[in-house]
Every structure is written in C-alpha cells, then in structure tokens.
C-alpha cells in the first residue's frame, strides 16, 4: 500500500486525531478517510455478513462502505466526515480491529454464500440462539449512551423561497444563476461541503470554474447551504416541503418551485473482489489528489472512457504516479455490460487491499500489479427525491439506473418540480449546464407566476 500525501492541503491547520486508539496527524476539515489513508489506514470497516474488509470507495457518503463511529456517533461516513482536532473515531462491527477482524472467518467458511432463508431455520432450539448471535455479528455501531438534548431546542420555522435548487453540480449552479437573474429568491443546497459536483475533482474542467461560479452566485444574492443534503420531500395539502439535513439538524424548506439537480451515484465495477479497499470511484480519487493532496496509490489501473480517461491519466502522471494500465469502462462491468466488451477485468486480487488485477482480451490473459483501481462509472441518477415529489422514472441503459422523465424545459410529472443534469440522463458537464439553465428559467417563471397570482387573488379579496 503506497497511498501517501503529496502536498499539504491549502490553508489547513495541522491537527491530531485518534482512530482505534492510535493517534494520527490530519489537516483540519479534510475527510477522515483522507487523513487515515495518509497514514496507511485504508481498511475502515468490515461488511455486515462476511466481514470483508472495506474502505472508502464512493467518496460521496452514498455507498456505506466507510462507516465508523465518530465521537460516540455510530455510522458516520469517513469519506464525508471532516476532521477536527482531537476527534475520536473507531471501527465498528468487528471483533479485534478492522484490519484484523476475527469474524472474517465467515468469508472463507462460506465460500458458496450464506442463505438466510435456509440457515438455522425450523430448528426450535437452535433458531432463537442462532438469531441472537447473527444479529450481534451484523450490528451497525453502538448507540450513544446519553441522548443529545437538542430536542428541547426551539422548533425551526420552514424557510420559504421562490426556487430551491437541490445539488450544486454543473446543472444546479446554472439553474440557480438563471433563476436568480429572472428575479427569484433562490436557495441552493449541496450535500457535500462545497459546491462544484463533478467539477470538484477537476476531471471534467478546472475546479476553479466551480469556485468562480459559486462566487458569482453569492454576489448575485443566491443563498448557498453546503453540507446540506435534501433527504425527503412531502406534499401536504398541496404544499411541498423539502427536509434538508445539516450537521445541526433538519431544516424544512417550502419552495414555490424546485429544481432537482441531485446528480447520480457511482459504482466500482462488477468483478470478483470489486469491494477490496483500494478500488474506488474516479471522482473520489481525483478529489483526494486535487483537493487534499492525497495520492491514493502509486500504481493505478484506470477504468474509464475518453475524455475522462485522458484527464485521469494526466492527473496521475502529474501526481508522480503514471497509470500502469488503462481499460475501457466496460471492462470493469464485462459480466453485465450490454454487448461484448473487448477487454475484461477478470478479477481483483489482494488480502486487505488490491494488489493486482487480471485482465483478459483477444491477445490473452495478463496479470497487472497495482495498488489502486480507479473506476469512472456512468453515474446512476439519484432519483429518490423526484419519486417522493411525484415524478416518473424510466430505466436508463448506460448507467443501469433510473432517470427522471422530464420535458424539454425540465418539467416533471410533479407540479412545479423540475429536473436537470445527470438526474435526467447521462450528460457531459456542458449539457448539464445547459439543462440546468433551461430548468432554472422554467422554475423561476413558475415560482414568480405563483407569487403574482397570490398577490392578485389577495387584491381581489381585499377589494370585495
């Protein structure tokens, strides 16, 4: 394992954190997973059933492979939890440590899998005992002993805005800008700790583009909430309410119109041992390098199509770790990819971290030594909020996901809910930007029409 810090992140204080009883150096605000990786800790936890080693793989808080107990709170994502001085984290769901977990024996004891439909069932005495043990083995962290007294706080009144934009990627940034230009009051929420989306890692364009766009929005008077993920949409008596999860709690927002730009979820391929630490999403690897000065591996294998493959290659060469092999993205999904991919990633190998991959093509089979596999999968649309709101989705072959069905202006089956970017289908950053602009404009028009209507009806009511 040769992940290492190539340069300190800009303007960050050096601090100390504790993980599983050991002390590690870190930079304030960097993701816990990045800090631990810098000290060679890449096994962050174990999977629930077979106790396979797991590390940070998506980097966006979506996959649940990097869960740790942080300052007493279970199930925090190490990939999105920022470090603070004297932070204490522990691995969960292990006997021993994440690195050496006794329970990992289940993985080799049951090579053909564990079927919970048949195991220990129907045996009157064995079943309850077995169940108790199984529950214990597959737990997720330990609850804090004392409850947070936050429930006694004053309830938060809902925030009312004309246009709420969910997600500050290419489409969200564009939608917010246009809606604001049209005269709407705009709130832009982003689940990660800074706006930029796909642009952050710099694979699609310079990350400074995202900074410039953000600065412009702030100057225009757009309200931007980072660290704020929309977790739920309800519609009661015709009023749409979005719940936003921030570190301090849940914030209800009632927008007149909503633009969903929630992007998509990445994955790391479908091949044996695809869950080994050291196999990660391209965007996460790119963000580690560009933003946190963390090189996640010395000998990367890259699975990506152009133009992202080129951007990744350049990124790693510049970081002093030229790729040992570049494969088309289909190679990482060969078993489930439509058609017959020319190359195939047959398997990844390694104990607790990826050590080599086997590649097969027309020329034969090849073993490639590596310590990192970077996968740039087509993102699968994050459609959940859209479904909450009442939009429709349809299967989308390229990502294997379900894309929101939207009209030419981004309108969905849900009233005053618009969608743009990856959410409506695979797109380049430029296409996402253009889609965001159209949807932002339509949302502003819808919101302002609503506002005008309510003024008029009020005037009429007052006049009569």
């Amino acid at each position: 394992m040769t992940a290492r810090r190539i340069r300190p992140p800009k303007q960050r204080r050096e601090i100390t954190i504790e993980h599983d009883g050991k002390r590690y150096p870190a930079y304030e605000g960097e993701p816990l997973a990045a800090a631990l990786m810098a000290s060679g800790v890449t096994v962050l936890g174990r999977s629930s059933k077979y106790h396979r080693p797991r590390g940070a793989s998506c980097g966006t808080g979506d996959c649940g492979n990097c869960l740790v107990q942080v300052d007493g709170m279970p199930n925090r994502c190490a990939c999105t939890t920022p470090c603070h001085d004297e932070m204490v984290s522990e691995s969960q769901n292990v006997i021993g440590s994440a690195e050496n977990d006794l329970l990992a024996m289940t993985d080799w004891m049951f090579p053909r899998g564990l079927d919970h439909h048949e195991m220990f069932t129907g045996l009157p005495l064995v079943q309850p005992v077995a169940q108790r043990i199984i529950r214990k083995l597959s737990g997720l962290g330990v609850l804090a002993r004392t409850a947070d007294s936050s429930a006694e706080r004053e309830p938060r009144p809902p925030t009312i805005v004309d246009v709420l934009v969910v997600g500050a990627g290419a489409s969200g940034l564009a939608a917010a800008e246009v809606a604001r230009e049209a005269g709407a009051e705009v709130l832009l929420v982003e689940a990660l700790n800074e706006p930029g989306g796909r642009r952050l890692g710099g694979l699609h364009c310079s990350p400074s583009d995202a900074k410039t766009a953000t600065r412009k929005l702030l100057e225009m008077g757009v309200d931007i909430w980072p660290d704020s993920g929309a977790v739920q949409i309800d519609r009661t008596q015709g009023v749409l309410e979005v719940l936003i999860l921030r570190p301090e709690g849940l914030f209800p927002v009632r927008p007149r119109a909503t633009v969903l730009c929630c992007g998509g979820y990445v994955s790391t391929g479908v091949f044996p041992n695809n869950d080994l630490p050291g196999i990660m999403a391209a965007e996460w690897a790119a963000r580690l390098i560009t933003k946190w000065g963390m090189l996640p591996g010395e000998r990367p294998v890259i699975c990506a199509d152009e133009p992202i493959a080129k951007a990744l290659r350049e990124l790693f060469v510049k970081a002093g770790a030229p790729p040992v092999r570049v494969l088309p993205i289909s190679a990482a999904y060969a078993d489930v990819w439509p058609g017959n991919p020319p190359e195939k990633l047959v398997t990844a190998l390694g104990g607790k971290h990826v050590e080599r991959v086997i590649v097969e093509n027309a020329a034969g089979t090849e073993v490639v030594d590596c310590d990192l596999v970077v996968v740039a999968s087509p993102p699968a649309p994050a459609f959940e909020l859209a479904l909450d709101a009442g939009a429709h989705v349809a299967y989308e072959e390229q990502s294997g996901g379900f894309a929101v069905r939207a009209g030419p202006e981004g309108g969905t089956a849900a009233e005053n809910v618009f969608a743009a970017g990856t959410l409506v289908g695979p797109c380049t950053v430029e296409e996402a930007h253009a889609g965001g602009r159209t949807a932002g404009e339509a949302a502003a028009t819808a919101a302002l029409t609503l506002l005008q209507e309510s003024y008029h009806s009020r005037e009429n009511r007052d006049a009569s």
Partner: protein, 129 residues
Amino acid sequence: MPRSPRTIVCSCEDLTVEDIVQCIDKGYRDIESIKRYTGFGTGICQGKACLHLVARVLRSRGIKESDLAPFTARPPHRPVALGMYAELSVNPPPMNAEAANKADARKDEGFAGKDTGPGEEDPSVGREE
C-alpha cells in the same frame, strides 16, 4: 485470513451476482421481488449503491427493459439521527409574520401587489384548495 472471490452487487448486505442469479432462477424476475427475497437495498445505503447494479444483472440475464422499475423510495434518503426528527415541530409554527414580511420586501423590489399586513397567510400555503 483467505477471502472468497465474491462479486458484490449490494455491499451493505453482502449480496453477490450469484445470489441475484439464483434468485432469477427461482423465478423472481423483478426488482421489487428480488429486494424482498434477498434484502438487497435494505441496508444503510437504501439502494443508492446497489439498485443500478442489480438492474444491470437483470438486464444482462435477459430481463426486458420495460419490466424494470425501482422499488419504492423511502425517505429519509440519508441516515438521520432520530433526535433530529424529534426536534421538528409536528405543527409547524404559523408562517404569517414571516411570510408577510417577505411579501413587503418583495413589493419594494417592484412586484405588483397590495400591502399585505401581518396576519395574512403565506401565499404558497393552501394554494390548491
């Protein structure tokens, strides 16, 4: 400890391509049934990391595109501490004052509209009644 070479499609519940294929062989050929049988999508990610992989497995095993639909999305879509829900007021405080203040501010920005004194309800509330 040696590891078994599994191809994981649902990392929360440790389900493999083989598990899904067995499920198809047993006659479960849609996402909802496969979820109920295997438990995929019921872990901490709630389907974010696995739904599209299971869909790919189904497609590659001959299931028609038009037969694929996601399972019901159940909020919250990210883990939320229960205390945070407890903190939300069940009956949100009336928005009158705030909404009215906003409306006043908007009038100054040049929006048509009569003075709406405090006591008016928010324009977006109850619009559909």
